[in-house]
Amino acid sequence: MVENRPFLTVLGHLIVLLGVIIIAFPVWMTFVASTHSQQTMLQSPIPVLPGPHLIENYTKVLTEGYGRVGSTPVLMTLTNSLIMALGVALGKIAISIISAFAIVYFRFPGRMYFFWAIFVTLMLPVEVRIVPTYGVVASLGMLDSYSGLIIPLIASATATFLFRQFFLSVPDELTEAARVDGASPMRFFWDILLPMSRTSIAALFVIQFIYGWNQYLWPLLITTKESYYTVVMTVSRQANVVDGVPSWNLLMAMAMLAMLPPVLVVVFMQRQFVRGLVETEK
C-alpha cells in the first residue's frame, strides 16, 4: 500500500477474517452435525463442537445410505455423480475443441451459419427450456441412463468460444510450417494444437467438472431408478422429507460428502479454476 496506516490494515484483516468465518460457518455446522448421534442433534441448542460419531455416521451413509425415502448408499450416488461430472466435462471439451478447430482453421460453405447456431446456445440455460427438453429425451428413450444425464448438457457454446479464442492467438507461422512439412490437418491438430491447449483444457475441465457435479434439476427429472441417482439430488430429496424423526447427523454427513469432491478440486486446482472462470466469461 502507498502509506502505512496500521489502523486500516488491522481493520482490513478483521473484516476479511470475519467474512471468512461467516462464509465457513454453515459448513462448520454441517461438519459438526455429521459427527454426533441422532439424539444429540434433536435437542436445541445443538452442539457447536464435533462429537465422537464421525466414523460411524460416515460408514453408515456410504455403505447403507439412510432412508426415509428409500435408502441409496452414498457410495453409489457418488459414483454416479463422478460419472456424470467426468462425462459432462470431457464430453464438452472433446466436442467443442474439434468444432472450434473446424471453425478457425477451415473455410467452407455455411461456416458462419454453424458458428451462429452454436453461438445462440450460449443464451439459454437448461432450466428455461426444461419441459420440452425432457420431452425430447423421453422420446429418444434416454431416461434413466448415463447418456441421458450427460449428453443434453454438453450442448453449450462457452467451451467452443474459449478454444476459438485460444486458436486465434496461435501464430500462423506454426500452421505454415506444418503445411510446408506436409502435415495433414489432423496431424497438425494432434501434434501441435492439442499439446498447446493443455492449460486451456485444464482450466475448462475444472469449471465443467463442478458444473456437471452440481447439476440438480436435470438428474432430478430424468432419473426414476435409484441406481442412477446423483449425490446432490439425493441430499436435497432426503432433506425435504418431512415425516418421521429427522436424522440430521446422517443427512449432514451426506451433504459433506456431496460437497467434498468439487471443493477439493477448486482448492487444489485453484490456479486453473480462476483461469477457467475468467476465461469462460470473456
Binding site: T30, A33, P45, P125, W213, N214, V235, V274
Partner: protein, 293 residues
C-alpha cells in the same frame, strides 16, 4: 478476427463440427422450437387433443395474478441477490487487496463456496435456520426474534437470498479482486501524494475504474438470480410458503411438471427465453465497450 493460413479440405470440417451441431440441434433447437410451438397450443385436460390458439396462452398469463406475483418476487429476489452479493464481495475484495501479506491465503478461504451445489447450499442454510434445531434460529430466538421460514414468507425470501448470495460470493470476489489488481498503482500513489485519504481514493479513483467489472458482475448476478438459483429454492422452500419465493423459473417447472399445464408452461419458457436473450445482449454490449468514466 480470421486466420490467414487455413487448410483446404472438403468434408473434414463438417465431420469435425458434426457432433456439436447434432447435439445442439437435438437438445437445443428441437426443444426450443417445441416450446415456442406448444406455447401456441392448449391441450385438453384429458390429454391427446390440442387446439391451436395463437397467443391465448400469453394473454392468459398476463391476466393471471399469480404470474404477476411471481414476476414481482423474481424482481425483488434478483435485486436483493445482486445488491447484497456485489456489496459484500466488493467490501471483501477491497480489504483483501489492501492486505499484501496473507491475501492469497484468504483467497483460498473465499473461493470454495463456488464449488458447493446450489441445492446443497440450500440444505446447509435450511439446517442453520431450521425452526426446531437450527443454531441461528435458536440464537435469534434468544434475542427475541421468532424465525420460522416454513410459515413466514418474508423470512423465507430472506433465507433464499442469503443462501443464493453465499453461493455466488466467491465468483464476485474473484472478479472484483482481479479488477482491483489491474488498477495501476501509480494512480493511487499520485492521489496519495496529492493528499487524498483512503476513502477519497476509493470513491474518486478505484470505484470509477472498477465500474466495468461492476456492470459485468451485475448482469451475471441477475442472470444467476433468475436461473441459477433453482436448486437453492427447490431444496429450501419449494417456492413457498404461499408462493412467497416462487421465482419465474420455478413456476415454469411447477406449472409444467406438477400442474401439467404444458401450454402455459411453454409460454412462460418463451418469455424467459426472451429475457435471457435481452440480458445476454446487454452483457455483450458492456463487454464490447467497457464503460469508462
Amino acid at each position: 478476427m480470421e486466420k490467414r493460413v487455413t487448410f483446404n479440405e472438403r468434408w473434414l470440417p463438417y465431420l469435425l463440427l458434426g457432433p456439436q451441431i447434432i447435439i445442439t440441434l437435438v437438445f437445443f433447437f428441437w426443444p426450443s422450437g417445441q416450446a415456442i410451438y406448444q406455447s401456441l397450443l392448449i391441450e385438453d385436460a384429458f390429454g391427446g387433443n390440442s387446439k391451436f390458439v395463437w397467443f391465448e396462452n400469453f394473454a392468459q398469463l398476463f391476466r393471471d395474478n399469480s404470474y404477476a406475483h411471481s414476476a414481482q418476487v423474481t424482481v425483488v429476489f434478483s435485486f436483493l441477490v445482486a445488491a447484497i452479493g456485489l456489496g459484500v464481495s466488493l467490501l471483501l475484495a477491497v480489504m483483501a487487496d489492501r492486505i499484501i501479506r496473507g491475501a492469497t491465503g484468504y483467497k483460498t478461504f473465499l473461493v470454495w463456496p463456488y464449488a458447493v451445489a446450489p441445492a446443497v447450499a440450500g440444505v446447509l442454510w435450511g439446517f442453520l435456520f431450521n425452526p426446531s434445531v437450527g443454531i441461528v434460529a435458536w440464537m435469534l430466538q434468544g434475542i427475541g426474534i421468532e424465525f420460522n421460514y416454513v410459515i413466514n414468507g418474508n423470512q423465507a425470501l430472506m433465507l433464499v437470498v442469503i443462501a443464493a448470495v453465499w453461493n455466488q460470493i466467491s465468483y464476485n470476489f474473484l472478479f472484483f479482486l482481479a479488477g482491483l489488481q489491474s488498477i495501476p498503482k501509480s494512480l493511487i500513489e499520485a492521489a496519495a501524494i496529492d493528499g487524498a485519504g483512503p476513502s477519497r481514493r476509493f470513491w474518486d479513483i478505484i470505484f470509477p475504474l472498477l465500474s466495468p467489472t461492476g456492470f459485468f458482475l451485475l448482469v451475471v448476478n441477475i442472470i444467476y438470480a433468475f436461473f441459477g438459483t433453482f436448486g437453492v429454492i427447490d431444496s429450501l422452500t419449494k417456492g413457498g410458503p404461499a408462493k412467497a419465493t416462487e421465482i419465474l423459473v420455478f413456476k415454469v417447472y411447477n406449472d409444467g411438471f406438477r400442474g401439467q399445464d404444458l401450454g402455459g408452461s411453454s409460454a412462460q419458457s418463451v418469455i424467459l427465453m426472451i429475457v435471457v436473450i435481452l440480458l445476454t445482449f446487454v452483457q455483450f454490449r458492456f463487454i464490447e465497450r467497457r464503460v469508462h468514466y
